[in-house]
């Protein structure tokens, strides 16, 4: 069985990540909070491994890490472009961007 305090940690970090995505206005900080939520999901996968008794946790974890890394790489490229083209990083102002 899984210890409740370990589950509490995973849920707490996940909640902070999701709350951050919902409450932030900065493009890159939203990416950072998504990374926080993904790492909490990976921790939950490790905790539930013992309950399911399967060995699918390792490929799942490597998938989560790979997706997190690929996402950051792609979004940093977008960030660099936005800074170079002087597009606002405030997502609430992006709707005012005229092409």
């Amino acid at each position: 069985m899984i210890q409740l305090y370990m589950l509490a940690l995973a849920f707490a970090v996940f909640s902070i990540g999701i709350a951050g995505v919902a409450s932030t206005r900065h493009f890159l900080v939203m990416v950072v909070f998504v990374e926080v939520a993904l790492s909490a999901a990976a921790l939950l996968a490790v905790l539930f491994f013992d309950v399911s008794g399967s060995s699918y946790a390792i490929p799942l974890l490597f998938s989560i890490w790979g997706i997190a890394a690929a996402e950051v790489m792609a979004l940093i490229a977008f960030y660099r472009y936005m800074v170079k083209e002087e597009v606002s990083l405030d997502v609430s102002k992006l709707s005012r961007f005229r092409g």
Binding site: Q3, L4, A12, L28, F33
Partner: protein, 159 residues
């Protein structure tokens, strides 16, 4: 057993604190550093759970790859600095989400027993990794310290 819980509590508090600091910092570089420390704390939690290979992979991929790339990418562009999150709204939303997610788990009564350590990677790496984990962590800590130092020097040079 009590020492295990104290050590876990310290690293868990550190994880939550570093995640919360992301709300507070206005500078993107500081946000990226807080994220890196969060990944380090979660790596320590993996060690406590008896998963040394996952802890090392977490350090290599998330701290050494993702966080470093985030720091370099944000440092090489213009460093933006503005109040990007409402801390109070974030705190309230976090607590509400945590309550909504965790209450069904607690009320189900399905969790809470002792954790039988059955490492994911025991069959493949137990003998090799558990005896050699310390050099990896020392090297990772040294490299991470070097990256933080380089950021400090970069910021001084930019002034």
């Amino acid at each position: 057993m009590a020492l295990d819980i104290v050590v876990f509590a310290l690293w868990a508090l550190a994880s939550v604190a570093f995640a919360s600091l992301i709300f507070y910092f206005k500078d993107i570089m500081h946000v990226a550093i807080a994220l890196a420390f969060l990944f380090l704390s979660l790596s320590a939690v993996y060690l406590i759970l008896g998963q040394p290979l996952l802890a090392v992979v977490q350090v290599f991929i998330m701290v050494g790859g993702v966080s470093t790339y985030l720091m370099v990418g944000s440092a090489s562009a213009v460093v933006s600095r503005f109040k990007h999150s409402n801390v109070l709204a974030g705190a309230i939303l976090s607590l509400v989400l945590f309550g909504m997610l965790f209450y069904p788990v607690v009320s189900s009564g399905a969790f809470g027993g002792s954790f039988p350590l059955t490492p994911l990677t025991a069959s493949a790496t137990e003998a090799a990794m558990e005896s050699g984990i310390a050099p990896f962590y020392l090297l990772a800590t040294l490299l991470f310290g070097i990256s933080i130092g380089s950021i400090v020097l970069f910021k001084k040079a930019m002034r």
